[in-house]
Structures are given as C-alpha cells and as structure tokens.
C-alpha cells in the first residue's frame, strides 16, 4: 500500500515537473511536433469554415496555412481547433493552440492584460446590425427597445452596450456562447436584431433559409481590426507570425503571386530578391529567413502554398465568392486601403 501511494505521489510530482519543463519556445515546439496547432472559429464562411470532409477553408485558415508553409514548406501541416469566442483566449494561454486565427478583434485590453500579443490586422472590420426586413427598420438608431442577440465574450457585446448607452436607447441583450446558437435564436424570433462584425453578418446571412428577408443596417458602430494572436513573451514565434503577415502584404505589393513566384526568383529587383531570399552570386542569401529561424526561401514556400494577401482575400471573401466583399479598407495602402507592411530589408 505504502509503495503504491508513494508511486502515485512520485508520478504526480514528476508529471508536473515535466509540464513545467516542456515550454522551450513555440517555434521549437512546433518544429518538434511537426505541425502548427491553429485555433479557429466554429464555422464562419469566408474566414474559417469546415466542409463535409472537415477540410477547413477561409482567410483565417489560409493565414495558418501560410505559417505552416513558412515553417514546414507544407501548408497541410496544420491542425485546426474550433473554439468559441469565450474559450479562445484560454486555449491560447494554456498552450492548447500555437496561434489563434479566429476573427479576433485587437484591443488594448486584450493586448495588455491577457498575456497575449496581436501580430497584425488581417482584416479591417466593423460591427453592424442585421434585422428582418419585415420590421421596416432602416437605421440602427431606431432600434430602441429591441431585443438583440449576440455572442458572449466578444467585443461585439461591449460595443453594443456602449452604442445603446451613448445614444440613450434601451435594449435587451441575449448573449449566447456559440454563434450557431445566436443564429438559431435570431431566426426563431427570440431577438429582433442580430449583431456581430459586418463581415460576419454577410457570412452568416448565407446560412439562412431565406437570406432575402434580412437586411444589414448601414451603421458601423465600431472598429474591429481582426488578426492573428500569439502568447506574450515568445518573441521568436511572434516574429514568425508577424512577418508571415507582412510577407503576404509585401508579396502583393511587389506583384509576387502563386503563378509567377518561380520567375520572380530570378528578378533583378533587389526588394524582390530580399523578399524571396534569392541567392547572390557569391552564394550568400539576400533575405532574413534564417534570422527568424526559418529557411531562406520561407516566403517562396508561403506564396507557392497560399498566394499573396490579395489572392487569399479574393479567394475567400472577395467579389467572386458568395460573400462578395470589396477590398475597401483592406486594400493595400498603395490602392487607398489600410494594409501596409514594413519593408523587408
């Protein structure tokens, strides 16, 4: 009996010590286990959505694939963990996922008090409202007294409270944990209004049986910069994720696409040479791939796998997709948008 008890105590203690020790650096951990664990939504068309074969697609998904391509030269080396809005940060903090790419809004509170770091803004969004057309409401300012369905643990929930308060309007919130529950309740008539990021409104509208009976109101009541998140205090991994995002933008800016990345390798443009890690005549590389712990051709790997930012956008949410979203604020800075990356030099 005594021996058994001691055995258990010993096992328990050693496993705890092991748990403490196994936290070298996320990049090394990821390389060692052979895949990137990516936290995504539970289904948001255009951003992260699984099909019948559990193949994930979307802008947020492609970002994780880009990171996997940068690390492993294989966009399939990603495992996806669907997370609720409420559980997403805990999953990242506890190490259950390596990166959270789940239409998550960058705020000061999240950046400073949750032990997390936002690596960039892959989609500039804003919060909107959707109502049934039969209500005859044409402005969010006419929503006083309405019941509003939303998801708990989101900035949406907070903006909603601020918006109604600052406009001296009365409302009743019904906050669910999962997005499907919000949609079901809205369609069952529990609420008059459904609110989330505007891209989400358009995406979720596609799931309705009768999308034409719902309208998105013109008001955008908040700034929702959505982007990938990593744990604080792991600069190497933070750099990999941040510069994967910048590489996608720089590639679009320099005209590097999946189709032409092969020819671009031999480009005479020094900017492109640095971006793609082309070898100089003396065999030294122009880029910084090894500097952030990857191969020199990490950007080539990314572009071959998922394309540049523009390609990812058009493929998942662009005008030729069911979502039909124009680039708008998400155009490059050179085209009047907000997407801007520091130079690779």
């Amino acid at each position: 009996m005594k021996r058994k008890l001691m055995g258990w105590a010993f096992a328990a203690t050693t496993s705890l010590i092991a748990a403490t020790a196994a936290t070298a650096g996320t990049l090394d951990d990821v390389k060692a286990k052979g895949f990137v664990q990516c936290g995504v939504s539970q289904g948001l068309i255009g951003f992260s959505n699984p099909d019948e074969q559990n193949n994930w697609t979307g802008l947020d998904v492609d970002f994780c694939r880009a990171v996997a391509a940068a690390v492993f030269n294989d966009p399939q080396k990603v495992k996806f963990t669907p997370l609720t809005a409420k559980d997403r940060f805990t999953a990242l903090q506890s190490g259950e996922v390596d990166i959270l790419s789940r239409n998550t809004t960058w705020t000061m509170g999240r950046d400073t008090s949750l032990g997390l770091k936002f690596a960039g803004v892959t989609y500039y969004d804003g919060q909107g409202f959707m109502v049934k057309s039969s209500l005859g409401v044409d402005s969010a300012l006419k929503l006083s007294g309405a019941a509003v369905c939303t998801q708990t643990g989101t900035t949406t929930e907070l903006n909603l409270a601020d918006y109604f308060k600052s406009n001296n309007m009365d409302y009743k919130v019904v906050a669910f944990e999962k997005n499907e529950e919000v949609l079901a309740a809205y369609q069952d008539g529990r609420c008059d209004v459904f609110t989330t990021d505007q891209s989400g409104l358009y995406a979720d509208k596609l799931k309705f049986a009768t999308p034409d009976e719902h309208v998105v109101l013109p008001e955008i009541i908040s700034k929702e910069p959505l982007g990938p998140v990593v744990r604080q205090g792991d600069d190497a991994w933070f750099n990999v994720v941040k510069w994967t995002y910048f590489a996608l933008l720089n590639s679009e800016e320099l005209g590097v696409t999946t189709a032409n990345v092969g020819e671009m390798m031999t480009s005479a443009n020094p900017e492109i040479q640095r971006l793609l890690g082309a070898k100089n005549a003396d065999g030294t590389a122009a880029g910084f791939g090894t500097g952030i712990g990857l191969s020199e051709e990490w950007v080539v790997q990314i572009i071959k796998a998922v394309g540049n930012y523009g390609e990812i956008f058009e493929r998942n949410v662009g005008l030729n997709t069911p979502l039909k979203i124009a680039r708008g604020k998400n155009a490059l800075w050179t085209a009047g948008g907000l997407q801007y990356a520091p130079p690779i030099r």
């Binding site: 008890l5 105590a9 705890l16 748990a19 403490t20 007294g145 708990t152 409270a161």
Partner: protein, 392 residues
C-alpha cells in the same frame, strides 16, 4: 539482563510495528500532498509570470462593460465585474430554488403514480421515468428551448390571458406596485402564517383529547392566502399594477420571465423529477406491507394511510438520496450557459474572457458551488435527523 527481557517480550522490528507504520504512511501522504500543492503553485506562478500576468482579485471593482438579460439586483453595463458575478450567483440560486421546488412536486407525483393500481397511470409514469432519465440533460435543455421559442408567437401577437402575455420573448406579467399602507398586507401574511401554526397546534391537541379531526391543512392554507388580502383591503387597497405594454419591438413593463429561464426550469425539473420519482417509489415500497395492513385494520382511510403511515416512514429512506438529487440539480444548472441564461458560470466565463483571470474565476466557481452544495446537504442532514426514527 536485556537479553532476558528480549526473550520475555519478543520485540517486533519497528518497521513491522503497526503504529509506526501508520504514522509513517500518514507522514508520507502529508509530505506528498504538500509537495503536489507546492508544485502546482510553483507551476502556476511560473506560467503566469511567463505570460506577464498576476494573480489577484483587483479586477473585481473594474467596470464590466456588458449588459445582462436577467438580473435580480440593479445592474448596468457600467457596474463592476464583481457585480456581474453576483448577478450570476443570484440567477443560479433562483433557478436552483425553483428547480428544486418543481422537481420535488413532479417527482413525488410521478413516484406515487408509478405505484398506482391503475394500469394506464402506472405505465405513463414508467414511460416518463425511463424516457427522461435516459436522455442527456443538455439535449433536453436544447429541446425545451426550441419548444418554448418555436411555437410561440412574436411579441406583437402575444397570447393574452388576463393581463399575462406569452410570446417567444417570454412571459410578461403585471407587477404589483405597493404604496403607502401596503405594510398591512405584509402584516396580514405574517398573521396568516402565525394563525395557521396556532390552528395546527390546537387541532392536534383537540384530536388527541377528543379524537375529533379538524381539516387544519386547508383552513390554514386559506388563512395564509386570505389574510394578506384582508390586510390590504383594510388599508384601502394601496396597490397599483405595472402592466406590460407593447413597444416598437416588444412588451415592456411589469415582470418579464425570460424564455431561457422557462426552458431551463422545465428541463431541470423534468429531468431531476425522473430520478426523484424512482427514489420516492423505492422509499414507499420499502415500507413493510404489514404497516399499511395494520393501519387498514385500525380503520384508517387509504388517503390517511398514505399520509400518516406510509409517507413518514418512506421519508427516512427518501431523504438522503433526495438530497443528492438537489445537489445534482444545483450543479446541473450550470448548463444554462448553452441557452444564454446568465447564471454564475456564464457570467464568470464572460468575465474570465475579458480579464484573463482564469485561476481566480475558477476559484470563485468552485467556492460558490461547494458552499451551495454544503449548505443544501447540511439542511437535508438536519431534516433527515428530524425525520429519523426516534427510538424510545
């Protein structure tokens, strides 16, 4: 000398001495426990430090920023996180109290139905028990939520029965507003309760003395119901009603019972009642048949036999497992989060998401549920010892 002693009382080697052994085992257990606790502490604080987070409850007073659909205490989006958690706590308590009440009522009814000699009634009870307790509770909560929301009309077509409006926004009821001398009503209520207790005492004494029974239960109940009305009438009826009115979107005013609360209450009480029914049936069947026969031989009516002979003896068997069903119901109420009922777990989860204070929130959850459970079980233990067979 010592050699002589050794032969007289053969010394057991100390490692085979049961007393040393027991002390050693306990010591090792304590050391191991402390080591595990220390390791947990070190591990948690190291991981927190790595993420640049601290342990503490300083978030408690910070402004929450979100609204809550149902609150028993004053709450706005500028209230603190602490208030939000307390709102959740009261909501948990509310659903637990109502759930326990209804589960007990349904459970006792179905349990007694199962023993009915009427084939149809006992079969209905059996089907109820076997169906309900074999379907996962979470599923039942979703089903009831759908059943509450889907068939009910929108707020503009709400079913109106005597000022009560039922729609997919819940049940809107007129709320009484008491003014001025309304304390007379409260005095009437207190008077009614005291009167009922005195009446019971008098009726029992009279029955012991003369053998004549007095229907003190129904009369006492009538006292409790009518005395407050009498008090209010004497005060000149200082009551006005806050009636629900249809606004642009939904009914406002009066008291609103949210559909989430209704669905959760039905699901929890129906589910727990199926277990209580079995406990009640087992308890009643455990009372020896001789007891009922003896009561019959004394000339008691069937209803009196059940009330005076069977149930009191069955209660001794029923109460302990009943207590654990009450605990289950309270803890199961945390599934509320699935249908947007703002209970303790839902509110704590939202606060956790915003503040990142995982350890603190989980601690609050554990302490609250533990205290609720301990409170319930100590009350049930007290009740059990009261109902226990008193040996003379």
């Amino acid at each position: 000398m010592s050699a002589f002693d050794d032969t007289r009382t053969p010394r057991v080697p100390f490692w085979n001495d049961p007393r040393t052994r027991s002390i050693a085992v306990q010591l090792i257990m304590v050391v191991a426990l402390v080591a595990v606790g220390y390791e947990l502490y070190v591990n948690a604080s190291a991981n927190l430090a790595k993420l640049g987070k601290t342990f503490g409850f300083d978030f408690w007073d910070k402004s929450a920023g979100f609204d809550i659909s149902q609150s028993l205490i004053p709450y706005t989006s500028s209230s603190s996180y602490g208030t939000a958690i307390i709102v959740g706590f009261w909501n948990t308590l509310l659903i637990a109290c109502f759930g326990i009440l209804f589960a007990t009522l349904i459970g006792f009814t179905v349990g007694i139905m199962r023993l009915s000699k009427n084939w149809l009634i006992s079969r209905i009870a059996t089907v109820y028990v076997e169906t309900i307790r074999n379907i996962p509770l979470l599923l039942q909560i979703f089903i009831w939520y759908g059943a509450v929301l889907k068939p009910l009309p929108g707020p503009k077509q709400a079913l109106n029965v005597g000022g009560f409006y039922l729609s997919n926004r819940g049940l809107n009821m007129p709320a009484p507003i008491f003014e001025g001398a309304a304390w007379m009503g409260l005095a009437g209520l207190v008077g009614g309760i005291v009167g009922a207790i005195l009446l019971r005492r008098w009726a029992r004494a009279r029955q012991l003395a003369t053998g004549e029974a007095f229907p003190y239960i129904s009369v006492g109940f009538a006292l409790i119901v009518f005395m407050p009305f009498l008090g209010l009438l004497l005060a000149g009826w200082p009551v006005t009603w806050d009636v629900p009115v249809l606004g642009a979107f939904q009914l406002s005013g009066g008291v609103t019972v949210n559909p989430e609360f209704i669905a959760l209450l039905i699901a929890l009480s129906v589910y727990t009642a199926s277990f209580i029914a079995e406990i009640v049936r087992a308890g009643i069947q455990a009372v020896s048949h001789g007891q009922t026969e003896a009561a019959g031989a004394l000339g008691l009516r069937q209803s009196s036999i059940t009330r005076l002979v069977t149930i009191p003896q069955a209660m001794r068997i029923i109460i302990p497992p009943l207590a654990s069903q009450y605990l289950n119901l309270t803890k199961n109420s945390s599934l509320a989060v699935a249908i947007a009922y703002p209970d303790l777990v839902a509110m704590g989860g939202t606060v956790l998401n915003q503040t990142g204070k995982a350890i603190e929130i989980v601690l609050i959850w554990m302490i609250v549920y533990l205290s609720l459970s301990l409170l319930t079980s100590s009350f049930m233990n007290w009740y059990n010892s009261r109902m226990k067979l008193v040996e003379r």
